[in-house]
């Protein structure tokens, strides 16, 4: 079987496993052989490995399958530790300066113990602070070892003058990336959800500030479906499915979600999020998003776009950071120049991811 054919079959299996982890129980060795590379590529292998372990499947699997799953599980644990430590270090820098950042996305999911945080592959940490606090945040972070990545003058201007944002920062000691935001959607987009509202509703979970459940969902939806495009991959849809499934347990959640979508102007992205979360196996129906249903042609277009984007291999990032690749090349006895793929992170690509 060619790699391409394995990939297609692997993706089908991955989608099935994502929709229903029960599907893993009856999976044959050749199916695992197709699933593992696709799951790895989609940054979902540690998560699947965790599902398999939870269902008590691992002991019955071929040794090679168990080996790959165990390795992924261990890696997932390490990502969890690394993110929690990164949160700790960000607090060390910012709390004494009187700043309390709100953590977004992966860091929030992991710290809050959410299902989409389990076995999560995290590339960097994102925080939200009020715009007025950006200069102080920058200084405090620089005092604790964070530096701006060297940028082309064009990119530097892009961030600071046009977008009024801080460029990504890298910690000198750990090589980890930190994105400091003061708004959750690009200035150049059509929608501008007010940051003040997000910060007002933010809450403490396990010692860190995170967005409210409604805002977590809306933030994820806004990013995946901003400006009528699909800016993400299968993993992002799984996040939305997990969030909706988890928070939807609370019968009062839907009305709050719909109300906040109105306030923030994110009704259309929410509609798409709900619709395509069903594709990813969400069992809860949020009828309240009905008013934001687009016209039939627009909807058909989005259906097609989603099917194309989210069922294709994930090319948005490699799961090993640039720093890790650099240090490991030495051990492989291969010069860094040979490790071309994903060595450099395109700052603009990853900015809003």
């Amino acid at each position: 079987m060619t790699p391409e054919a394995r990939d297609g079959r692997g993706l089908d299996l991955l989608l099935a496993a994502v929709r229903s982890p029960q599907r893993l129980v009856a999976m044959s060795p050749p199916e695992w052989g197709a699933l593992i590379p696709s799951a790895e590529e989609a940054r979902l292998l540690p998560r699947l490995a965790s599902d398999a372990q939870r269902m008590g499947l691992t002991s019955g699997l071929p040794d090679w399958t168990r080996g790959r799953l165990t390795s992924a599980l261990v890696r997932g644990q390490e990502f969890e530790r690394a993110v929690k430590w990164e949160i700790d270090r960000v607090h060390r820098a910012l709390l004494p300066a009187g700043l309390r950042p709100v953590f977004l996305k992966g860091a929030a999911y992991i710290a809050a113990g959410l299902p989409c945080g389990v076995g999560r592959v995290v590339a960097d940490v994102d925080i939200l602070v009020p715009e007025a606090e950006l200069p102080r945040a920058q200084v405090a972070l620089q005092q604790h070892g964070w530096e701006f990545e060297p940028l082309e003058p064009y990119d530097e201007r892009y961030y600071r003058e046009w977008m009024h944002e801080l460029p990504p920062m890298r910690n000198r000691d750990r090589g980890t990336m930190l994105d400091v935001h003061h708004r959750i959607l690009p200035k150049t987009g059509r929608i501008h959800p007010p940051t003040e509202r997000l910060l007002e509703e933010a809450r403490e979970v396990s010692g860190i500030s995170v967005l409210s459940p409604e805002h977590m969902v809306l933030h994820a939806a806004a990013h995946l479906f901003q400006d009528g495009e699909v800016a993400g991959a299968l993993r992002d849809l799984v996040d939305l499915r997990d969030l909706l499934e988890q928070f939807g347990q609370d019968p009062a959640f839907e009305s709050r979600l719909v109300a906040e979508a109105k306030v923030l102007g994110l009704g259309r992205p929410l509609f798409y999020a709900v619709r395509y979360a069903r594709l990813a196996g969400c069992t809860i129906d949020f009828a309240g998003v009905g008013p934001w249903k687009p016209s039939a042609p627009l909807l058909a277009g989005m259906d097609h776009l989603v099917e194309q984007t989210l069922t294709r291999p994930d090319t948005t990032s490699g799961s090993l950071g640039a720093f890790a690749l650099y240090t490991r090349s030495h051990w492989l006895k291969m010069p860094v120049s040979l490790l071309l793929r994903h060595v450099t992170r395109k700052a603009t690509r990853n900015f809003w991811s």
């Binding site: 790895e40 090679w64 490699g318 490790l339």
Partner: protein
């Protein structure tokens, strides 16, 4: 059945059909290739390795082929695909063997976290393991090649694989990578040793692989515990001297040469502590190979715990 039991035609056929699955220590590695350079490298360097004809899958599925039709015939290149990834840029076809070895290093270094992985040459004598944890360029491969031709069993020239639950060392014997002058040194040291072709790599260095001793490959199911730690330091012109290391420093050294012990949390730390505790450590400064080998042999006789 070993690779050496296959005819050229059989080997070629299995490789083309992606039904060639090699057992390398604890790993099943499935390979696919149409390249004669790959076939030749496997036939020679993996001669004693078992192939598994019943395997329903493998830990690592690797394809090593030309990146495209043009690069098959004109300035022929090789490209390695692991799972759905291509971690390296294409290289000249003559570099197929180093590419395969680097690919396996990549897999073991990044996708085998069910083990604690230490970058270390690992050998065995009398049921105990000698670890030589050291970064590339320290001369450990040369010393390792010399030792395996003097009665030491090869577990690996590159990795010490530690089972986190039991602390035992798991062999993963593969061809030994030698560079530049070391190739001639070992060829003179062990005239019967079998080498693959010398190839010039991307950084203008000559590399060649030494076939692992058949006995080492055959015994790759025999595990053992750490007995000694030797940190080799090649210093031109130096007489061979061994200097004891404190156990605290040995522990730091093991950690410095392991990318993933800390992925295993408390268990990983405890395993490294146990190794530092069980295995007395020394640094070995040397220049002449025979003195280096003698120093290690003496250590194994007198310092055995």
């Amino acid at each position: 059945m070993t690779v050496g039991d296959l005819s050229d035609a059989e080997l070629c056929g299995l490789l083309r059909a992606q039904r060639f699955t090699l057992r390398i220590g604890p790993f099943l590695v499935r390979l696919r290739s149409v390249m004669s350079e790959v076939q030749a490298a496997l036939a020679l360097l993996y001669r004693a390795h078992e192939i598994d004809t019943e395997a329903d899958g493998a830990h690592f599925v690797i394809r090593l082929d030309h990146p495209g039709l043009v690069r098959r015939f004109f300035r022929a290149q090789a490209q390695l695909t692991f799972d759905l990834r291509q971690p390296f840029i294409p290289l000249p076809a003559s570099m197929a063997a180093p590419m395969l070895e680097a690919g396996l290093n990549w897999c073991i270094g990044n996708y085998a976290h069910q083990f604690l992985v230490i970058h270390s040459a690992t050998l065995e004598r009398g049921g105990r393991a000698l670890l030589m944890p050291a970064p590339p360029g320290s001369g450990k491969s040369t010393l390792c090649a010399a030792l395996v031709t003097r009665g030491w069993r090869l577990l690996s020239d590159e990795f010490a694989l530690v089972d986190p639950t039991t602390g035992i060392l798991v062999p993963v014997p593969r061809p030994i990578a030698l560079k530049e002058g070391s190739i001639d040194v070992i060829a003179r040291w062990a005239p019967d040793a079998v080498f693959g072709p010398s190839v010039v790599n991307n950084e203008d260095e000559t590399v060649a692989y030494m076939q692992p001793p058949a006995r080492s490959v055959r015994d790759s199911g025999l595990t053992c515990r750490a007995g000694w730690i030797v940190v080799p330091q090649y210093v031109a012109g130096a007489d061979a001297t061994t200097t004891p290391m404190t156990r605290a420093r040995a522990l730091m050294h093991l950690a410095d040469n392991s990318f993933n012990y800390n992925f295993h949390g408390r268990v990983g730390f405890d395993r490294l502590v146990a190794i530092a505790d069980q295995a007395p450590s020394v640094t070995l400064r040397y220049s002449r190979l025979d003195e280096g080998v003698d120093a290690v042999d003496r250590l194994a006789q007198t310092g055995a715990p």
